[in-house]
Structure formats: C-alpha cells, structure tokens
Amino acid sequence: MSGDERTTPPGPGPAFVGMPAFPEAARKAVGDATLRANLRHATHTIRDKRARAVAELDDWAALREAGKRIKDETLRHLDTYLLRLEEAVTAAGGTVHWAADAAEANRIVTELVKATGESEVVKVKSMATQEIGLNEHLEAEGIAAYETDLAELIVQLGRDRPSHILVPAIHRNRGEIRDIFREEMGSWGRPAPEGLADSPAELAEAARLHLREKFLRAKVGISGANFMVAETGTLVVVESEGNGRMCLTLPETLISVVGIEKVVPTWRDLEVFLQTLPRSSTAERMNPYTSMWTGTTDDDGPRSFHLVLLDNGRTTALADEVGRQALRCIRCSACLNVCPVYERAGGHAYGSVYPGPIGAILIPQLRGTASGVDASLPYASSLCGACYEVCPVAIDIPEVLVHLRGKVAGQGGHRPERAAVKASAWVLDHPGVLAAGERLASRTRALHPRRAPGPGIRRWTESRDLPEMPAEPFRDWWRKNRT
C-alpha cells in the first residue's frame, strides 16, 4: 500500500465519541424491526442453551461463590499478584510493559510492531484492544490490523461497531453478512467465492479462505487474554474457531494487551473459571479451543512475547467500594443475553465496546460520567436483577447501577428524575393527598392521553404507552372487598 490508501476498512469513526445518550440511541434501535428480530432470536437461543449447560453441574452455586471469592481476594491484593505475574512472565522469557491509559498502551504496541519491521498484524478478538481503539491507532501509523474472529471480521468489513461481547455481529443476519463479504472481502484480500450463498457454513468457509493467507504470512500477532496466572506466568485464551490458535502460534512476535483485573493467583484457580466461563458464555461444556502459554518456548510458537498490562480506568473502579465488584467480570456476556433492555435496544445504544448490563456499570466507572451517554448508562436498566442471577462471578449489577445513579444524580443533571422523586416523597408522606389524587385520576381516565405531556417526561413515552388507569384506586377496592 502506498500514499494515503488505507490498509483496512475504515471504521465508523472515532470509537463512540459523541454518541447520543442511551435513551436517544435506544429509541432508534427499538424502531428497527430487523435488528429487534435478530436480537430476540439470538438472545433467546443462547439463554436457553446456557440454562441447560449450567444445570448439568449440581455444584454451580459453589463454583459461582468460589469464582467470586477468588476474584475479590485477587483485587484486594492486586499489586502483589501483578508483581508476581511480572516476575513469572519475565522468568519464562516474556517482557512485561505497564500502560496507565489507552494512549500509552497504543504507543507501546505500535513501537513493538514497528521494531519488528512489519506493517501488518493479525488479531485475536480482544475486548481490551477494542476498548483502547488499537486498530484505528495502528492504521494511522501505517500498520494494518486484521481482525480474525468471524464476527469481528464481519464488523470490520462492514465498517461497523461490535454490539455484543461474545458475538459482536449479533445484530447482523445471514443475508446482510453475505452482502458485506461479497462487497468488501476483495478490497482487503482474497475475495469472497463466486456465487456466495447465505448459509452460515458457506459464510464460515469464505472467512476461512479469506483469512488463511493472512495467517500463513503473519509475523506479528496481537491478543488479549481471558486469564493470567500470577503463580506460573501463564496466559489463557479461550476461543472457538481456531483463529486464536493461529494468531498465538504462527507469528514470530506475540503482543498481548490485558486488563490488570484479568490476573488470578494460582494455576488451580483455573479449575473454577474453566468450568464457569464456557457454560456461561457459549453454553458449552467446554469451548473448542483453549490455549495456554507461559513466556516463550524453544521451537514452539512465537520467539518473542510481550505482555502489556492495561489500567485505563480500572484503578478508579477499584477505588469504589461498591463499584469495584465489576472488575470480577470474566466477559462471558450471559448478562446481555437475559437483559430485557439489551434485547430491545441492542448493543450499539450503550455507546461503548462493553454493552448490556455489565457495560452499564463498567463504562461509567472506566470513563467517568462526564459525557451524556456515560451519565445515562446507569439508567439503562429496569433493575429486574436477571443479570445478577446469571452472573458466574455474582456481580450484583443492580446494586452497582443504583449506586452509580446516586453518583450521577449528585453531579447535577437528570433534574426531572430528582424533581419527580422529591414530589412523590411528599405525596406519600400525605396519605390524604394521595387518596384524593388516585380517585381524581380514576374518574378522569377516559381523558388520559397515551403519551405523557410536557418536556422531559414526554420522551419516556416515545417508545412505550402509558399504563391504563384502573377504574378505581386499589385502596378503595381493598376497603370494599377485603375489610
């Protein structure tokens, strides 16, 4: 490639900057019938499968509690475990780098790639590298970063954003994917086969052919990791397609960018998470491939290994006594699949790479709540608690949401909510006023609009109807019938 030509498809713009607040983004998504059908099908399929996979283990509750406690203990002594990890990785031939924020991590990775003299890298799906916007940064530095996970490839070729942690192209159906492959593959490598149909098997085959030439010539691989074992210096990547193995095994240089909260103390701790993660995530007893490596090995895999430990807001979350439990997350995405809000709004409305309930508590902590979308995220929930029920490390997401709402309300903004809460507190303290109000409301119900009037609160009813008023207040009905 020469001049100003791009080496990878342009993304949809700087990562999520200037996203509208959740309610506006969600309103658009809720009006998209195809998107809602795709999401509903996908989330319902996976949540039922997950329930069956979990039911196979009669000690699930004990595994969940163990996972929670291991993570809590790790976070309490995170400095100790990171130092132990650094020592073990270094002793095994790896090099450890520390990145305080996204810019620093991007700079470190860019310098490492440039030092190899290469201008392209193959990537394993990694939430951390999406979080820091690594691909766009590398592109700007003249380095092509190819996503190799099928869904990430669909997103990258479609100039799109991921909308789910596990299946980032969940918002696309097979017909849309076929069109993206037909139109885009040829511009960035081997074109899609002639007459490509839209069966998932044919689409997977097209991806296999398109990516194979990139794997075989790759000299640099970039990954994240699901776990890092402090005791042994071992990194763990769980995956399904084998693209992970390709990126971790074939290149000469491997760079792994991993959030500092991904460390676990001991080798034995994996016995908990290797049981809970696959069942919670893909609803399998075990995912097809899990790779574990410790530094470098003579005659097997990359000759040089770099681990970039990423903070990027994690220590801010760690300082919050309620919010820090979000750092237990093992990125299984079970909470997305059971969430009634995610199912309807989709992943893009959350305005970050971490959508769904976990994103609603993680992002405001990692990025702060200065922007409109980030301040609105703690409200992107009905607090039904389904996310907490399925979480394999027992993160009490509703508890953190309420805690974060308190923080957002405290910084100003959300005035209608605060005014409403104040007014209702006064009414509830004055039972006579409440009863009179209820009767008045019942008698005038024929006149009630389907949409709420007035600025601020009208928006609440733009995507839903107001509930119908009963013919008689409950308290009157109770007095007549039960006393």
Binding site: R69, L274, M286, A319
Partner: protein, 211 residues
C-alpha cells in the same frame, strides 16, 4: 514505562488501602461430577466428544495401526505430519506420505499437508476435551492446527480423567498447552453452530483400550 508501573501500582494500593480483607476462597465445589469407574468415564468421554462433532472410534492396541490407516484413507489424506516421538507402529499400515517436522515445516508447507496424527497428554471426560502439551508424539502447536484433519489417539484408562479439576494437576503450565473440544466451530452467524472454521475441520479420536 517504569513510571507507569509505579503509577499503576500506587493507584492500586491507594484504591484498596481501606478495603476489608475478603473471606477466604471457598472450594466446596466438586472435584468431579462422575463416579470413578474407568468404563463409565470412557463412555462419558466418548459421548461428549461425539456431542461436539468429533468422530470417535475404539480399538485394542493391536488394531490401532489398521484403524489409523483406514481413517486416513477414508478421508483421502495423502500426506500426514509425523510429530517427533510418535510411536513408529501407529503409522505402520498407513499409505499416506509421511512428513517430519525436521527441519521445521513452514506454515505454507503445513498448509499443504492433509493430516496430522498425534497422541495427547490427558483427556477430560466431563467436557469431552483432549489436552496436548507438546510432549512426545504431539509436536509443536502448529502441527495440530494448520492441517485440515487431526487424528488424536487417547490411551485409556491411564490418560482419561473425569473433570477439569482433576486434569489441571496433571499438566505442566511451563509447556504450551492446547485444550481441544471437538473440531473448530463458530456460532457467530445467528448463533447457528458451524463446525470447521480455521482449525482442523475434522477431528478423529481413537480411544485405545486394553493391552
């Protein structure tokens, strides 16, 4: 860089300075969900491997060479990678052309080979998983990744354990480890599972029992 290390560590220490000591990790989950009966374990391994679309076969040791030869022929494998330390008699009856990894095969050369035959370090019955650790008869990781057919031999009962908690102590974290549960797969398109993406699209497993 050194500064960031100190900065991150200082931030961590400040963040948790007042945090209470959490309760100790409880390990009251099961070590295994299956009775310690070798025949039942082997059946469970067989069932779970097959459930994730591996093709599973059983044989006594004296039938192994013939079975391997037949499976390679049925799949049309004309070339096969032989990892260092693979027992010589395993491929005694196979007609496929043998390729050794000395000197190291390039990724392109590996891509031109049809199949690979290996042993394994341990197999996990409850999850239908084979674990390779690069020991004798297994080779480096790329050998079982690039060819489209992987034929893996498991010696029962000695290589079969019930569960993940029983598998981990038998593995050496210093070695590169690959846990394989069925052929490569994806559910990325409408959560419809498709077997065979980048890893071997066909996984043949031979369970060898008896002496």
């Amino acid at each position: 860089m050194t500064d960031s290390r100190a900065r991150v560590l200082a931030r961590i220490r400040a963040a948790v300075a007042d945090a209470p000591e959490p309760p100790a990790a409880a390990r009251d989950y099961r070590t295994s969900h299956t009775a310690e009966d070798p025949a039942a374990l082997l059946d469970l391994l067989h069932e779970n491997l097959a459930d994730y679309r591996a093709h599973v076969h059983r044989t006594a040791p004296d039938g192994l060479a013939g079975l391997i030869a037949r499976l390679l022929a049925e799949r049309g494998a004309r070339t096969v990678v032989v990892p260092p330390g693979l027992p010589a008699d395993w491929l005694a009856a196979a007609e496929a052309v043998r390729r050794t990894d000395e000197p190291r095969l390039t990724p392109y050369e590996l891509d031109g080979v049809d199949a690979v035959v290996t042993g394994c370090a341990v197999a996990v019955a409850e999850t239908g998983t084979l674990v390779l650790d690069g020991g004798p008869g297994q080779g480096r990781r790329a050998l079982t990744l690039v060819p489209d057919l992987h034929l893996c031999v498991v010696r029962a009962p000695e290589q079969v354990v019930a569960s993940v908690p029983l598998a981990l102590p038998r593995l050496d974290p210093a070695r590169p480890l690959t846990w394989i549960s069925g052929p490569s797969a994806t559910s990325d398109i409408e959560l419809d599972r498709v077997e065979g993406v980048h890893g071997p699209r066909t996984l043949e497993v031979v369970l060898v029992t008896g002496r």
